[in-house]
Each structure stands twice: as structure tokens, then as C-alpha cells.
Symmetry: C2
Subunit: 199 residues, 2 copies
Amino acid sequence: MVRWEPDARGRLEKAAMELYVERGFDETTVAEIAKRAGLTERTFFRHFADKREVLFAGAALLQELLVGAVAAAAADRAPIDAAMDGLVAGGALIQERRAFARRRYEIIAANAELQERELIKLASLSAALADTLRQRGVADLAAGLAAEAAVAIFKISFERWVADPERLDLPQLMRGSLDELRAVTAGSDIEGSPSVTTS
Amino acid sequence: MVRWEPDARGRLEKAAMELYVERGFDETTVAEIAKRAGLTERTFFRHFADKREVLFAGAALLQELLVGAVAAAAADRAPIDAAMDGLVAGGALIQERRAFARRRYEIIAANAELQERELIKLASLSAALADTLRQRGVADLAAGLAAEAAVAIFKISFERWVADPERLDLPQLMRGSLDELRAVTAGSDIEGSPSVTTS
């Protein structure tokens, strides 16, 4: 006899995120999360494998969406442009969940073990992007570099956006970061652009 | 009464690396490392904090060398070129220790926890490079992207080099990767280069 709990997953997520901010991730127990959500521990474990998964379940979905957009890009899209299609799709999703994204960022920034987990997720995203580009016929080295460049753009744009997610537009920051990366990698090949040095 | 042990550190390192390859990192104990080196556990702990440090002590020195080269680059060097000066200096050092570098790579590739540690080291290298570039007057966004680009070049060039470290030249692979990254990030801004797609 499983009781129907309206939006149990959403209530558990909300309770968990509040507690992680208030008490810290390490100090919060699944029992406390369930209690605050007005549900049982058993219900918690029907939705999440552990308390870390509240923070990282979305990352797996994000990677799927992002990689799917790269795979679906028109065949004549250049590797970096296909990768950017994925980033922009991912950026739009993150932006829809801006309150969650910001809170999640703060919780992870406060905990070394969660930061390690986040680095692993980013490395896994880079590997998945590179594989997808190779399947599109992109040569090995170019695929690896385009994927790493995309993840760098993602990381740096996200860090800028999360400081002010109400005002800033994440996909737009991503496009601006690609322009800046182009200017930066051009380096001594072009005359120093005023955008790369402070006055 | 500390006995003088000629090249104790080198002998411990050699014994540890052999055992990590033969038995796996997790299965090797400090007692076994000391025994194979013909030294005591106490001597081991005078040289290394733990068995993981045998693999990662060099990474700290490498970061110092690399960041030092970036800080010492001529003031008019573009950010990416200053970062490349650091990479090339680091690449030359790794190349001098090619047998160690290759064995270390294999040991880390076989162990998830060590791979996480390596990701953390690379993230720390990126942060140190970005800080050094900022101190050179490079704007925040450009510094972050140049540092991420440099670490991506480092990572991808190293992975290519380690497959055949006797024949390949690491600094040269790094320079080639920067050229490829330039071509890749140019994307749809230039006509598709034959280097970025397979035939």
C-alpha cells in the first residue's frame, strides 16, 4: 500500500536544499529532510539514492539534453557551433530553474567533497561531448579540444551568471565567452585586442 | 641517530611505482614499499606524507614551475602566449621524466579515486594560472578563459604524448593543440578547415 504523495519529489528536493543551506550538507540527515517535507525516509529513498543525488540528479538530465542537442545539430554545423547549440540548450534549462541553480551552487561551493563530484561531472560532460562530436565525423583532436572549450565556456559563463541570475542571460553569456575565447586564443597572431587586457 | 640512506626518496619512489603497477594502488601498503626499497616505514614517512603523495608531490612542483614561467613572461606577451610559455616549460620537465610520467598515468587511469585527485589538481592549476594572468593585468574573463584553454591543451596534448613518449615531443604537441584550438574556436567564422573534420 503506497500512499499517493502529491509532488513528493519536489517537496523532498525543496526541504533538502533548505536544510543544506541552513545546516550544511554534511550535517543534514535523510531523516531530517523527510521530516521537513512531511514524508517518510522510505519515500525519500523511492526518489533519491542518497542525499547527494538531490544535488546531482539534474546534472545527468542536463548532460543528456546538452549532448542530445549536439547530436541533433545540422550536419554542416562546425564542431564548436554544434557544441554551442548544446550549451545554449543547457543554459536555457538552468535559467528556468534559476533559484535551484543558485542555491545548488552555494551548497557545492561550501563543501570540498561536493566540489570534487562537480569536477567529475564536468569531466564526464567533456568526454560525452567529445564522443558525440567524433560520431559526427569530427577528427579526434578537434573533437577533444572543442569539447574542452565548450566545458570551459560553460563553467566560466555559469560562474558569472550565478552571481546575478535575475539580471543576466546565461545563453548570451555563453556566446560572449566563445567570442572572448576566440580573441584570447588568437593571442600574438592578432594585434592585442582591448578586450583582453585591463586599461 | 638518522642513518644516511643514499637516494632514499628515489628508491622509495621506484619501489612504490613498481608495486602500484604490479598489485594496484589500493592493494599496496607503505610497509611493502619500504621493504622493496630496503628501507623502513619511518624513512618512507620522512619523505612522503602517504602513499598517494608519491604520485602527486611532482604535480605541486610542476604547477610551481609552470605558474612561475607565466609570471616571468615578458610584459607584452599576450595572455595565451604567456600561458603557453608555462605549458612548454612544464612539458619539458615531464618529458625529462618520461618513464615516471607514463607509469604514473597508467596507475592513475586504473583508479577512480586517483583520477578524481588528478581532476582536482588540474582545476587548481587552472585557478593558479588565471590568478597569475590577472596579476599581469589581464581582465577577469580573458584570464579565466586563457587559463582553461591552457589546461585543456595541457590535458589533451599529454594524453596524446603519453601513448608514445619516446617518439613524440610534448611541447611541440602543445603548440599544435593551440593551433588546432584556434581553428576549432573560429568555427563558422571561417570556412571549414580540413583539419577539423575527417575526410
